[in-house]
C-alpha cells in the first residue's frame, strides 16, 4: 500500500512532506531532550532489523497469499513513539531509495501513513490503554490486534484521500474505500497478531527489554495527545490552504476529484469529423509561434477544464512529434555511449 509518485499532484505530495518533516522535527526535539545515548545504536540496528524482517514472507493459513511485517507498533512498544517514528521513517526512506517503493515525493505520504498512525494514534490511544505493565499475554494480543487494525485502516484511508485529492485516478471515493479498507482489515489483523507474537516472545525470553521501556518512558497522555491533535489541525489547515490555492490555479486538482465524488458535470459534446480537424491544422500552422506555448491559462475559459476536445489534427501531429522526441532522446543516449567507448579505447 505504498503511495506512488505517479498518483500524486505536487501540492498533495508537498503537504504530506511538510507534515512528515514537522513530525520528524518534533520527534527529534523530544528525543534530544530525553534520549539516553544508548538508544542511538539500538534504534539504528532495530531499523535494519525491521527492514530485513519485512523481507521475510510467510504463508497466511487458510489463504494462498503471503504476508509480511509492518513493524510500526512493535517499534513503538519497544522504543516509545518518538524514536519509533524516526526509525520507521528511516526504514521507509531506505526502501524508497533502494527498492523504489513509491518514490521520493510519495515518501512524505508513506512516512505519514505508516509512521504517524501507528506511533501517535494506535500506540498511545489504543495499545497503551489496553495493555498495562502487568497485563498478561492475552491482553497484549487484543491490544496489538486492535492497534494493528486501526493503524492500517487509517493508513489505507489516507492513501485514498491522497489519491483523490491529487486527481490522477478515476476511482470514485466509495469504490476506492471499499477496495482498500477490507484488504487492509485482513493485513491489520495479521500485523497485530504477529506484533503480539513477537512482543510475547521477547517478554518471555528477556522481559527487561519491554518492561524497561514501558516504565522508563511513560508517554504523558494528555500533553502528547493535545500536541498530536494540534499537529493534525495544522496539517488540515495547511492542506486546505495549499489545495485551494492549487485548485484555483489549476482546475485539475481538487475540483476534479470533487466532481468525481459528487458525480460528473455535464461534458461538452465531442467534435468529430474531418472539417474541424483540417481547420485546426490550418489554425495551428498559421499561428505556429503562438501555439508552441501551452495554453494552460486559456483552457479554463472554455468551460471544459482539463478536457481538451478530441481533434484529429493535434492527435496525429502529437503522435508524430512524440515519436520524434523519443527518437531524439534515445539517439543522444546512444551517441554518448559510443563516444565514451571511443574515448575509452584511445585513452
Amino acid at each position: 500500500m505504498h503511495m506512488a509518485d505517479a498518483l500524486l499532484s505536487p501540492a498533495v505530495g508537498a503537504t504530506f512532506w511538510a507534515g512528515t518533516l514537522g513530525t520528524m522535527a518534533y520527534c527529534a526535539k523530544k528525543l534530544k531532550e530525553s534520549m539516553d545515548e544508548k538508544m542511538v545504536p539500538l534504534m539504528g540496528v532495530l531499523g535494519a532489523f525491521i527492514f530485513a524482517a519485512q523481507m521475510i514472507n510467510f504463508t497466511i493459513p487458510g489463504t494462498g497469499s503471503s504476508g509480511h511485517l509492518g513493524g510500526g507498533i512493535i517499534l513503538a512498544v519497544i522504543l516509545g513513539p518518538y524514536a519509533a517514528f524516526i526509525v520507521m521513517a528511516s526504514v521507509l526512506t531506505v526502501q524508497a531509495f533502494f527498492f523504489a517503493d513509491g518514490g521520493l515525493l510519495a515518501l512524505g505520504c508513506n512516512i505519514w501513513n505508516l509512521g504517524v498512525y501507528p506511533c501517535f494514534i494506535a500506540y498511545p490511544l489504543i495499545y497503551k490503554s489496553v495493555v498495562k505493565a502487568d497485563s498478561g499475554p492475552k491482553r497484549i494480543v487484543v491490544g496489538s490486534m486492535i492497534s494493528g487494525v486501526v493503524a492500517l485502516q487509517l493508513g489505507a484511508f489516507s492513501v485514498v484521500i491522497e489519491t483523490l485529492l491529487s486527481g490522477r485516478s478515476e476511482l470514485p471515493f466509495g469504490t476506492f474505500v471499499l477496495l482498500m479498507q477490507p484488504v487492509h482489515l485482513a493485513i491489520g489483523l495479521v500485523e497485530g497478531f504477529v506484533t503480539a507474537g513477537v512482543i510475547n516472545f521477547v517478554r518471555s525470553a528477556r522481559p527487561e527489554i519491554i518492561d524497561s521501556t514501558a516504565s522508563a518512558r511513560p508517554l504523558s497522555a494528555e500533553v502528547s495527545l493535545r500536541k498530536v491533535f494540534i499537529g493534525l489541525l495544522i496539517i488540515a489547515a495547511m492542506t486546505g490552504g495549499m489545495l485551494s490555492w492549487f485548485a484555483s490555479k489549476n482546475p485539475d486538482g481538487l475540483e476534479w476529484s470533487i466532481e468525481k465524488v459528487f458525480g460528473k458535470p455535464e461534458l461538452p459534446e465531442a467534435e468529430h469529423g474531418l472539417a474541424p480537424a483540417l481547420k485546426s491544422i490550418q489554425e495551428k500552422t498559421a499561428f505556429l509561434p503562438d501555439y508552441t506555448f501551452r495554453r494552460s491559462g486559456v483552457e479554463g475559459d472554455k468551460g471544459s477544464p482539463s478536457w481538451p476536445a478530441p481533434d484529429t489534427g493535434t492527435s496525429v501531429s502529437g503522435i508524430v512529434g512524440s515519436a520524434m522526441v523519443l527518437a531524439a532522446v534515445l539517439l543522444i543516449g546512444v551517441l554518448i555511449r559510443v563516444f565514451r567507448r571511443k574515448i575509452g579505447r584511445t585513452a
Binding site: 509518485d5 505530495g13 504463508t59 531506505v94 478536457w307 520524434m324
Partner: protein, 269 residues
C-alpha cells in the same frame, strides 16, 4: 515478487554501482538530490491527460544512464518488478472514463487510457530517477546531503546506522529464511506462529548486537553524535549542472516540444 536472495543481491549491486567514478558520480550529492527532487516534482505536476509533454523528460534518465555508465537493463528490470500501486490504481481509469479524447487513423482512444498511460509514464520517470540517484550517489552521500540541507541530525544518523547494519542483518535473515524454506518444502514456513518466534529470535539477537555495538562505540569515544569524515564542496561543475537541469526542466514544462516537432514534420510533408 523477487526472492529474498535476489532482493539482497540487488541491494548490494546498487550500492556497488554508486562507487563508480564518472562525471555524474563526481557531482556533489546535494546537486543531484535537488535535481532529482525538482525533476520528480516537474514530472508529477503535469495534468492527468498529458502524454506528449512527458516524453522530453526521458532525456534526463537517458543522460544519467549514459554519462554515469549505469547498466540500463538492471535498472529497468528493477522498475518493472517494483510492486506497482500506481498500476493497480491506474488500471481503473480505462474502465471508468470512457469519454473519447483523441481519434486518429480511425482509432479512438478514451480519456481513461490516456490518463492511465500518463500515470504509467510518470511512474516510470519518477521511479527511474530515484533509482538513478542512488546508483550514482552513494547512500551515505545522500545522507550527508540531507543533513546539509537541514534534515534533523538524529534522523540522518539513524539512516546511516540503518544502512551500516542493513547488510549484516539481511545476511543473517537470509540464512534463517533459507533454513526455514528448506524445512517447509517450498512453502513459506508453517504459518504465523513459527514466523513470530522466528522474528522474535532475530529481534533478540538484534538487541544483543546493539548492546555490543554500543560498548564498542563507547570504547571509541562515542558521546551521542556521529561525525561525517568527508567534507564535500559545491564546485562550479555542480552549479552548472544544477542550473542546466533547472533551465531544461522549465523549458520542457512550458514549451510543447512534441507538438512543435509534430507540426514541424507535418510542415515538411
Amino acid at each position: 515478487m523477487i526472492t529474498f536472495d535476489k532482493a539482497y543481491f540487488n541491494l548490494g549491486y546498487l550500492d556497488t554501482l554508486s562507487y563508480r567514478d564518472t562525471f555524474v558520480h563526481r557531482l556533489d550529492p546535494r546537486a543531484k538530490l535537488i535535481a532529482t527532487i525538482l525533476f520528480i516534482i516537474t514530472v508529477v505536476s503535469f495534468p492527468k491527460y498529458e502524454i506528449a509533454g512527458l516524453l522530453p523528460f526521458f532525456l534526463y534518465p537517458v543522460l544519467v544512464f549514459s554519462l554515469g555508465d549505469i547498466p540500463v537493463a538492471f535498472i529497468l528490470k528493477k522498475v518493472l518488478f517494483v510492486s506497482s500501486f500506481a498500476a493497480f490504481v491506474g488500471i481503473f481509469n480505462p474502465l471508468l472514463d470512457r469519454q473519447i479524447l483523441y481519434s486518429a487513423f480511425g482509432l479512438s482512444v478514451s480519456g481513461g487510457w490516456v490518463s492511465f498511460f500518463s500515470i504509467m509514464l510518470k511512474f516510470f520517470l519518477t521511479i527511474t530517477s530515484a533509482l538513478l540517484l542512488i546508483a550514482t550517489t552513494s547512500f551515505p552521500g545522500i545522507c550527508s546531503a540531507m543533513q546539509k540541507l537541514g534534515m534533523p541530525g538524529i534522523f540522518v544518523s539513524q539512516l546511516l546506522f540503518l544502512y551500516r547494519y542493513l547488510f549484516v542483518l539481511t545476511e543473517e535473515v537470509m540464512r534463517v529464511v533459507r533454513a526455514r524454506d528448506m524445512r517447509s518444502f517450498g512453502r513459506k514456513g508453517h504459518g504465523i506462529m513459527p514466523f513470530t518466534s522466528l522474528v522474535g529470535t532475530l529481534f533478540l539477537r538484534t538487541v544483543e548486537r546493539a548492546e555490543k555495538i554500543y560498548q564498542a562505540m563507547l570504547s571509541r569515544g562515542f558521546r551521542g553524535r556521529l561525525h561525517a569524515i568527508r567534507p564535500f564542496d559545491f564546485r562550479a561543475a555542480d552549479t552548472i549542472f544544477l542550473a542546466v537541469t533547472v533551465i531544461l526542466l522549465c523549458l520542457f514544462r512550458i514549451l510543447n516540444i512534441a507538438g512543435a516537432a509534430g507540426r514541424f514534420s507535418s510542415g515538411l510533408f
